[in-house]
Amino acid sequence: MTFPISVLLIDDNQLVLESISAWLEDDGFKVHAAACGAEALQLLRTVPIDFTMVDLKLPDMNGEDFIIQAIRQFPASLFIIHTGAQSYRLSRELQNLGLKDDDIVYKPIISLPLLTEMIRSKVLGVPLV
């Protein structure tokens, strides 16, 4: 059996965390959840994480700042943004760190199977079909 992909979800909304966790767990991912930036950084330090999905509005920090901090400390991990603001566009700094427009997932997630595919393709380096 291959090692499961490890995913970290960061959102202060419990409903959002639970619903996405349930889906990803059913799909065989190892899911970790954090309700704030500090908790997430703590998790990143203690468990191996392949993929992190960050809400933009965290109680203790801005999601962008979180990624900027985390990417420096954990360059091997992948980060994407999860936001309800449809008008959100990547900042220059995040672009420079290698994030692309398709690294943004908008709330609510209408198709969870697509999220599964996206995580697999990003982590395994296989292009999306």
Partner: protein
């Protein structure tokens, strides 16, 4: 000697007397002459004075003639150069006098305007109103009219004017005619409408931004958990079978039960409702979208073709109004330079208009082929995009409210009433453009989008 002396004396006396006589005669003559001279002098003075008076009168006459001429010329210049139309309407309602501007505004040659009936030029919506107010002025019931008026013009080139009219009175105070001045206020009115519309957008935008963000989380909970439930009651997931056997139920029977009770259907309805709510929120957020992030020069034909492709594969459109059955005419100005814009937003605008057109075309009775014509052209500093359909068209009332948020003519649950107001917000607020709609019932609808080539102010 004495005789001589006597004669001498007599002669002397005679001379003396004669002299006296002559002198007195001379005196008399002289005084007569003087008197005559005086009379002549007097007459001369009188004549002189009379002449002066006459000259003065002539001068005064000349002056008043000049004043009259100037007055007339002034009126003539005002009449000819006025940017307002001026008409004189007789008591029968016939135009007897009009300036060129009036003819230009109405779209007829001056000769055709003179002799026509004034109320014929008023748009039919207001013709009765105009007839009665003209009557009131003619009858003297009211002295002056000042009102906004909708005029017809030729070929549907109607315009809005301010009519200011007053009675022209004859010598006995009877009405001879009504003089009216008509100022075209179409542009002003349009600006006012745009401002009102923008206000509405800002209000909705403010409300939307606040609530949309908050709503996306609970919606995520609903939609994502529905997907979880659907998968957990369907075959295919290993965990489902495992747990079913652990608790000792036949998973196939559970599914049968759910099927017969319509649970899957009910869950599908939750998904539909949630997705729709998400759509509405996404649209609402477009109102508050500020600061067009990625402005780039975009060639219009490319952009329009992309919007057409999107419309053709739009699920909703395919389901209800088959886009493939509509003939699309493309009339692009291929030499037009690219326009600096947020292409995603303008694509959205076009898509919303195309969807609207497709929906309208689905309502028209079968007969001639449904078609949408898209034209682009340059007009000064603006690029114009026209989207015209040959659908059933809209009433004037609908046209007026077409860009209002939540205004829809579709049945409840079909339209959100946001598509075109979002289009409006994106064009006017985010691109400093103009969006207009012209429609005629039974003929079709034409949307006209003007986008400035330079969007430097666009922040």
């Amino acid at each position: 000697m004495s005789i001589i002396l006597g004669i001498l004396f007599t002669v002397i006396c005679f001379i003396f007397v004669h002299r006296r006589v002559v002198k007195s005669k001379t005196d008399m003559l002289e005084s007569e002459l003087a008197e005559q001279r005086e009379t002549i002098e007097l007459q001369r003075i009188i004549q002189h004075q009379q002449q002066a008076i006459l000259e003065q009168e002539i001068e005064t006459l000349k002056q008043s003639e000049q004043v009259l001429k100037e007055n007339e010329q002034r009126l003539q210049i005002i009449f000819e150069t006025s940017q307002s139309g001026i008409v004189q309407v007789d008591t029968q309602g016939t135009v007897v006098f009009a300036n060129h501007r009036m003819a230009e505004m109405l779209g007829y040659p001056l000769e055709a305007v003179i002799g026509s009936r004034y109320v014929e030029h008023v748009h039919e919506d207001e013709r009765d109103m105009a007839t009665s107010s003209l009557q009131q002025v003619i009858s003297g019931e009211i002295d002056h009219v000042y009102t906004e008026r909708h005029y017809a013009g030729t070929d549907g080139n109607d315009f809005w004017g301010i009519f200011s009219g007053k009675r022209l009175k004859g010598a006995d105070g009877e009405t001879v005619a009504v003089i009216g001045i008509i100022t075209d206020i179409s542009e002003r009115k349009q600006m006012r409408d745009i401002m009102v519309q923008t206000e509405k957008m800002i209000m909705v935008g403010g409300l939307a931004a606040g609530m949309a963000h908050e709503l996306n989380n609970p919606l995520g909970g609903i939609l994502q958990n529905t997907q979880n439930i659907q998968r957990r009651i369907s075959p295919g997931l290993k965990a489902n079978d495992t747990i079913a056997s652990e608790v000792g139920v036949d998973f196939a029977l559970v599914q049968q039960y759910l099927q017969r009770r319509g649970i899957n259907e009910l869950l599908h309805h939750i998904t539909m409702a949630g997705t729709r709510a998400a759509d509405i929120i996404a649209n609402l957020l477009a109102f508050s979208r500020k600061g067009t992030a990625s402005l780039e020069p975009t060639p219009l034909p490319e952009l329009i073709n992309r919007a057409l492709e999107l419309a053709a594969c739009d699920y909703d459109l395919k389901k209800r109004y088959d886009f493939r059955n509509i003939r699309i005419n493309r009339e692009y100005d291929m030499v037009m330079p690219p326009i600096v814009m947020n292409s995603l937003e303008i694509e959205q605008v076009l898509l919303n208009i195309l969807k609207n057109a497709a929906q309208a075309l689905a309502e028209r009775p079968s007969g001639t082929k449904s078609q949408i014509t898209i034209r682009t052209r340059r007009s000064g500093q603006y690029a114009i995009i026209e989207v015209e359909d040959n659908g059933p068209g809209m009433s004037e009332e609908t046209c007026k409210r077409i860009f209002d948020p939540f205004f829809t003519t579709k049945e409840i649950g079909v339209g959100t009433g946001l598509g075109l107001s979002v289009a409006y917000a994106l064009v006017v607020n985010n691109h400093r453009g103009i969006i207009r709609v012209d429609s005629e019932q039974e003929k079709g609808t034409k949307f006209n989008i003007s986008l400035p080539f330079s969007t430097q102010e666009n922040a």
